[in-house]
């Protein structure tokens, strides 16, 4: 890697170029008859990459759709196919793309099989069932127990490991590609390294001024979600870490002068990431957020590392600490840690009609932040992938009052 510095724009260009090449790679695989799977954004990419499968994540494609302001049309399309407007907008938009055979870079190539997750949330099981039926391909559903209070018992871990092994058998059956333990070990090692590096970047966000903003961080997450287990993710995070360290050393931040540091809870509004720019213009920086730190990264956020010498065990633990698999006691303590350690003076809780798993239980977190840290919160309701749910003008009006209050 070259020694010269990279601006945020340059880093973001690296990511955009790579995203394009990632989707091109999937298309190419399809053309060449190599196996392509659809999996949920929590899918065990480490195992799938180790077994030579190209991984396509419709949820990620939805976020691109949102950025290009195409989500509304696809949500509406799904609704004409009896998909209720009350269901998760990722699912609606994703199904709309499937029904209309279209998308922000054209239709996704058809999958050879699908890997969903019944343990993660209702859409992670049922949305994938609809897809499997539509494409008439085999469906594998991962299951696991609930990590209610953050303490995993041996039988819970053992079941998770057995689910991963069952998936390896399924992939072998579908593709004819044998499971090679060394390849899997290497992919898990790379994933562990990517997560550890990502954790260091998150740690640097504690500095004042915060060197890396939420807009960049949610973009960075692309590698943790879709590329975990690949060398490219480690390289990307090393590059970002190096640059972020440099910014800290020079005292460069998202804002030169931070009036307010905020904690943001829930998925970003993918069709309107500009809310973060607007906040910055008011002197407010999102110093820490739930989405990049707790959801995929929960195991590492809680201090775990891939150090068990058993790749299945490492991956099982990562899975059991996803925010989707932990109970409110764990979610609550994570929010408290994030707000406290990253020095947040206020919090924004996005009550997301699309996502019950992240939204139910927010009031308990809000009152814990207030009672234990004196951190006051602002709540608004919308959906992360359906622009019909959100009015920027109204949001700004309420947000101004909240910032004034802070």
């Amino acid at each position: 890697m070259k020694d010269e510095r990279l601006s945020n724009e340059q880093i973001s260009q690296v990511r955009k170029d790579y995203t394009k090449s990632f989707y091109a790679r999937i298309r190419q695989a399809k053309k060449e008859g190599r196996p392509v799977t659809y999996t949920t954004a929590l899918g065990p990419t480490e195992l799938l990459y180790a077994m030579g499968v190209e991984v396509c994540m419709p949820e990620n494609y939805v976020t691109i759709c949102c950025a290009k302001q195409m989500a509304k049309g696809f949500c509406e399309e799904a609704e004409t196919h009896s998909i209720s407007p009350d269901l998760c907008s990722y699912a609606r938009c994703g199904l709309g793309m499937m029904y209309s055979m279209d998308g922000p870079m054209g239709a996704l190539p058809e999958p050879d099989f699908i890997v969903g997750a019944v343990s993660a949330c209702d859409p992670h099981a049922k949305w994938w069932e609809l897809k499997a039926r539509h494409y008439n391909v085999p469906l594998f559903l991962m299951d696991s127990s609930y990590n209610f209070k953050g303490q995993i018992k041996p039988h819970q871990e053992a079941w998770m490991i057995s689910e991963l092994k069952r998936l390896a058998d399924f992939v072998e059956e579908q593709t004819g590609n044998p499971f090679v333990e060394d390849d899997f070990r290497e992919c898990v090692r790379l994933s562990g390294e990517a997560h550890s590096t990502f954790a260091e970047i998150q740690e640097l966000r504690k500095h004042i001024p915060a060197p890396r903003g939420i807009r960049e961080m949610v973009g960075d997450l692309f590698y943790l979600i879709t590329q975990a287990g690949r060398r490219e993710s480690v390289e990307y995070y090393r590059m970002v870490l190096k640059e972020t360290r440099e910014r800290v050393r020079r005292g460069e931040g998202v804002l030169d002068e931070e009036k307010t540091r905020l904690y943001f809870h829930n998925i970003p509004l993918w069709f309107n990431l500009q809310i973060f720019d607007w906040l910055a213009a008011q002197g407010a920086v999102v110093a820490m957020d739930f989405y990049t730190n707790h959801v995929w990264h929960g195991f590492f956020f809680d201090g775990g590392r891939f150090d068990s010498e058993d790749p299945f065990r490492d991956l099982a633990r990562k899975w059991l600490f996803f925010d989707n698999h932990v109970g409110l006691p764990v979610k609550l303590s994570r929010s408290l840690i994030s707000a406290r350690e990253w020095g947040c003076q206020g919090a924004i809780f996005f009550s997301n009609r699309s996502c019950k798993v992240y939204s139910i239980g927010q009031p308990e977190q809000i009152s814990a932040l207030e009672q234990e840290l004196g951190v006051r919160s602002f709540t608004f309701e919308a959906e992360m992938a359906d622009p019909r749910s959100f009015s920027m003008d109204r949001w700004k009006e309420h947000m101004c009052m909240f910032l004034d209050f802070l």
Binding site: D86, A125, Y146, L328
Partner: protein
């Protein structure tokens, strides 16, 4: 003596309080996919939550507006003391809402036992091993709450009580399916829902008596319909307007899965010669399951088609609670498969109480459309 399961639902806490007086423990449950037999064998009465008929104003500050009335009702009655006699709470992972609700209740009352039970969606050796350890651990937890220790003998006994209950309910469905005029749909549903709140030995006794009172008079004629989805109890016990509409429109309910999806398991636990009762309980809790989250919609469609074949159903009415994601996700597949087989379907959204005018128009139009065209594939 007239046996009315509606009375059981109206006096819903009586049985639990009686059990408590005798020194038993009570576990508030949501969904039948919890190990009820195990609890009963340890002297714990599983009490399935029933809906209150409130406006759930209390829940507004704690639950977002986009969750089902059912979860609001449980929240409200759990925190306002209606269920203060419970020794704990056990919900099965049948949807995200209920799992998250368990989290809220546990944070609000950390002193109380709260357990999220996962009945595996698949059935393989790893899942079986997990579930067996989970059940053993659960037995220990119940014991620490003051329950009787687990024993093979007591579990065997509990399984046979629950099996008899399943057989009696299946018989009730068979009798009703054969002659739907012989028993009102509310009576059938009340009978099934009562099973969730009273000790099964007493429920068995009542059911036996109830079955004897059903008179097989001449067969009634009418449009034969099947109900699917989930119907909240206040529509059943309160003699809600849905069933009046059916009666006035001369519709006969021949089969339903309204209380079975979430609240009741029909399949008996197999008597394997010499098999460990715990292994058999494990087997019965594994997938595919009645809960829509944990089994593909195709299975449910097959069940509906079979019921239509068995009992001459002419159409299916889906009753869908607002914001119930697993049921909502099943609808496109179910309606498509039924359509492919020529079985008409109507989808009705239901909440705590059904808005009558609009529902009447839709039900009447549907019945008119399907009447006289029995399903025959």
């Amino acid at each position: 003596m007239q046996i009315d399961f509606g009375d059981v639902l109206r006096e819903r806490h009586r049985w639990a309080l009686e059990h408590k007086e005798k020194g038993g423990l009570m576990m508030g449950c949501y969904s039948a996919m919890v190990p009820e037999e195990l609890m009963w064998s340890c002297g714990v009465l599983p009490v399935q939550f029933l809906m209150s008929s409130g406006d759930y104003g209390e829940s507004q500050a704690y639950l977002p507006p986009y969750v089902c009335d059912c979860s609001k009702s449980i929240f409200e009655e759990y925190v306002n003391g209606t269920y203060s006699y419970l020794d704990g709470l056990m919900v099965s992972h049948v949807c995200e809402t209920i799992r998250s609700l368990a989290g809220i209740l546990s944070v609000r009352r950390p002193d109380r036992f709260v357990h999220v039970f996962t009945a595996p969606a698949g059935n393989d050796a790893g899942a079986r091993r997990y579930l067996k350890s989970e059940l053993i651990g659960l037995g220990d937890k119940l014991q620490s709450l003051g329950a009787v220790p687990m024993s093979e003998e007591r579990l065997e006994e509990a399984i046979s009580v629950y099996n008899e209950n399943r057989a009696l309910i299946s018989e009730l469905y068979r009798v009703r399916g054969g002659n739907p005029g012989s028993v009102e749909p509310e009576e059938v549903l009340s009978a099934v829902l009562s099973a969730g709140i009273m000790p099964r030995p007493q429920h068995n006794q009542m059911l036996r008596g109830f079955l004897k009172t059903i008179h097989q008079g001449p067969e009634k004629t009418g449009t034969r319909i099947i109900l699917s989805g989930l119907l909240f109890e206040n529509e059943v016990a309160g003699r809600g307007n849905l069933f009046s509409i059916f009666r006035e429109s001369n519709a006969l309910v021949v089969w339903d899965d309204l209380a079975t999806g979430m609240r009741y398991r029909f399949e008996r636990i197999e008597d394997l010669e010499g098999g460990d009762p715990l292994d058999r309980l494990v087997e019965s809790l594994m997938g595919p399951q009645p809960a829509p989250l944990r089994s593909p919609a195709e299975g449910k469609a097959g069940q509906l088609l079979q019921a239509a074949r068995d009992y001459g159903g002419e159409g299916v009415i889906f009753l869908i609670p607002k914001y119930c994601d697993p049921i909502l996700f099943n609808i496109p597949t179910l309606t498509q498969i039924l359509k492919e087989h020529g079985l008409p379907a109507l989808c009705l959204e239901v909440s705590g109480s059904l808005p009558e005018g609009q529902m009447r128009t839709r039900v009447e139009a549907f019945l008119e459309m399907i009447s006289g065209s029995p399903f025959n594939v």
